[in-house]
């Protein structure tokens, strides 16, 4: 294991002429829970998507567990990885989306089993048992055979978390996991995430839930306009923001 689970050095990303990430530097240690906050359009989702190479970065370096994401370095030249190698890197990284993105034609337990069986070629019996344990862990043991359309938003998001965990990732990325939920359903999802943090999972969480950041986060990063404006201990940053842009943002959401 390397010193940092995630290490970003001067990460740049543009869509056409729009520069979305303008040089992101940060490190996430193993078992750290990093919360990322910032106004809409500041590049938070884009940065998360770069970490598992759903987006290609234009400049800088991005490492997960000491390994360059999406490329192989030979001498001073970068070689793009083959699709299969990118897929192999992504297996190690779980991702939870704002809109859940469960597979609607599969039951909850089938959603969870899909990747371990199809990607890792594990035995179905073994995976089914693990899927049952995961459903139990997210409090949905009785919903194994329900289709996503039959579940509430909070239940769907908990299945999505279980689905990501079934691949035994070493890193979990959450992109506003509770933003699409009705207020009364937010708590049940955050509870599952807290438990995960207590179990020592390395997590990067884009969120507007400042209470979660304060209680669970080991670090907090405030992003605005494609750069990291301020970072540090969540309790300190939230209580005493140093930067004007951070103050302005926090005064709106707190």
């Amino acid at each position: 294991m390397s010193d940092f689970m995630v290490k970003a050095e001067q990460v740049h990303k543009s869509f056409g002429r729009l520069e979305v990430l303008k040089g992101i530097d940060l490190q996430v240690s193993p078992s750290e829970v990093m919360c990322v906050v910032g106004p809409s359009g500041s590049g938070k989702s884009t940065f998360l998507r770069c970490i598992n190479h759903l987006e290609k970065i234009d400049a800088g370096r991005l490492y997960v567990d000491g390994e360059l994401v999406g490329y192989r370095q030979r001498g001073d030249k970068l070689h793009e990885l083959h699709e299969k190698e990118v897929a192999a890197q992504r297996r190690e990284i779980g991702m939870v989306f704002q809109r859940f993105n469960l597979f609607p034609h599969m039951t909850a337990v089938e959603n969870i089993m899909e990747a371990p069986v199809q990607v890792r070629r594990e035995s179905k019996a073994e995976v089914r048992q693990r899927a049952g344990e995961l459903l139990d862990r997210v409090g949905l043991a009785d919903k194994a055979t329900a289709y996503p359309g039959q579940l509430s938003g909070g239940q769907q998001q908990r299945v999505a978390i279980a689905r990501a965990l079934a691949m035994r990732p070493k890193l979990m990325l959450f992109d506003e996991p509770t933003s699409a939920l009705d207020p009364e359903l937010v708590g049940e999802v955050l509870e599952v995430m807290k438990q995960l943090a207590r179990d020592g999972m390395t997590m990067i969480v884009v969120t507007h839930e400042m209470g979660f950041a304060r209680e669970v986060g080991d670090s907090l990063v405030f992003m605005d306009d494609g750069i990291v404006v301020e970072s540090g201990n969540p309790r300190e940053v939230l209580a005493d923001p140093k930067h004007d842009r951070t103050k302005a943002f926090l005064s709106k959401v707190l």
């Binding site: 598992n52 759903l54 699709e83 299969k84 897929a87 192999a88 992504r90 297996r91 990284i93 779980g94 991702m95 989306f97 704002q98 809109r99 859940f100 993105n101 469960l102 597979f103 609607p104 034609h105 899909e114 990747a115 199809q118 990607v119 289709y147 996503p148 359309g149 039959q150 579940l151 509430s152 938003g153 769907q156 999505a160 689905r163 990501a164 691949m167 699409a180 939920l181 009705d182």
Partner: protein, 295 residues
């Protein structure tokens, strides 16, 4: 006591004079006259020659032709769908060569009449008298006579499959595009390759969009098989022509073919009805997800 819920009693039911529809009566009269005329012709015009028709309806040469029409339709649709999926995947591939090749194929096969294409398949032996197995532009190991190798049945199936694939490719592509982008991302993030994502996640969901037009294509194909008389291949229309060339009973034999086509397409329409009902079900769609993501 019992009147307390209905203190004033139930008001008198409305008995209004209904609106008159004189147009309906007029239409009914016109249609009735037309139907009477048609029945009169069918029954009393001896040139329909019903006795002969019933004699031929289940005659062995006609039944052979019916069987050929059925398997040709099935082969064309199965082959066309499989090849159509390949063409659709090529069309959406990140590889620009594959995209261009697929585009060119669709351009040719959708831009020319099926009948002309079938004539070409029937005459392919004139273009390539022999077929050889060997190294391109190098030595040849085995050589066959094309006419011997490609029977009318093969030419007919290949002609219909290649044409149908071009249309199915567009149907499949529309189906794939109908699946939410988030599905690709979720399976990609789980470490699935593009092909696994297509096969396991996207295509099963695309079926809802692909199935209904495919039913229409199948019914159209049943009728298009009549064009392989161009090759010529022995199917229903060709059989009717064959018989009336001998007996001069042109209209009776064509009506016999019409009855068979109607019977077969009715069966397909019933099948389509049930398939659409099956795939139109909404209980498996993530309505909750859509409602919740109020973006």
């Amino acid at each position: 006591m019992t009147t307390s819920t209905q203190p004033r009693g139930r008001p008198e039911a409305i008995r209004a004079v209904p609106v008159r529809h004189p147009g309906r009566w007029l239409a009914a009269a016109v249609i009735a006259v037309l139907v009477a005329m048609a029945v009169n012709t069918l029954v009393y015009n001896p040139r329909f020659n019903w006795p002969e028709q019933f004699q031929y309806l289940f005659a062995p040469p006609v039944l052979t032709a019916v069987v050929n029409t059925i398997w040709l339709t099935a082969a064309a649709m199965v082959g066309g769908t499989v090849f159509g999926v390949v063409l659709a995947l090529m069309r959406m591939s990140p590889n620009p060569i594959l995209r261009a090749a697929s585009w060119f194929y669709l351009w040719v096969f959708r831009g020319t009449p099926l009948y002309t294409q079938l004539l070409i398949w029937g005459a392919i032996g004139a273009l390539f008298p022999t077929v050889s197995l060997g190294i391109p532009f190098g030595p040849e190991f085995v050589t066959w006579q094309t006419q011997a190798l490609i029977s009318a049945a093969i030419a007919a199936s290949v002609g219909l499959i290649l044409n149908e694939a071009a249309y199915m490719a567009e149907i499949v592509r529309a189906g794939i595009l109908s699946v939410d982008r988030g599905q690709h991302e979720a399976s990609g993030a789980l470490g699935m390759t593009r092909m696994q994502t297509m096969r396991r996640i996207v295509l099963p969901q695309a079926m809802r969009v692909i199935i209904p037009p495919t039913g229409n294509e199948t019914i159209a194909m049943l009728k298009n098989t009549s064009l392989v008389a161009a090759i010529p291949f022995y199917e229903l229309t060709f059989a009717a022509q064959n018989i009336y060339a001998r007996t001069y009973q042109v209209i009776p034999m064509l009506i016999m073919a019409v009855l068979w086509y109607l019977a077969l397409s009715s069966i397909l329409m019933i099948g389509q009805y049930y398939l659409e009902r099956h795939y139109g079900r909404s209980e498996r769609t993530p309505t909750v997800a859509r409602d919740q993501a109020g973006e």
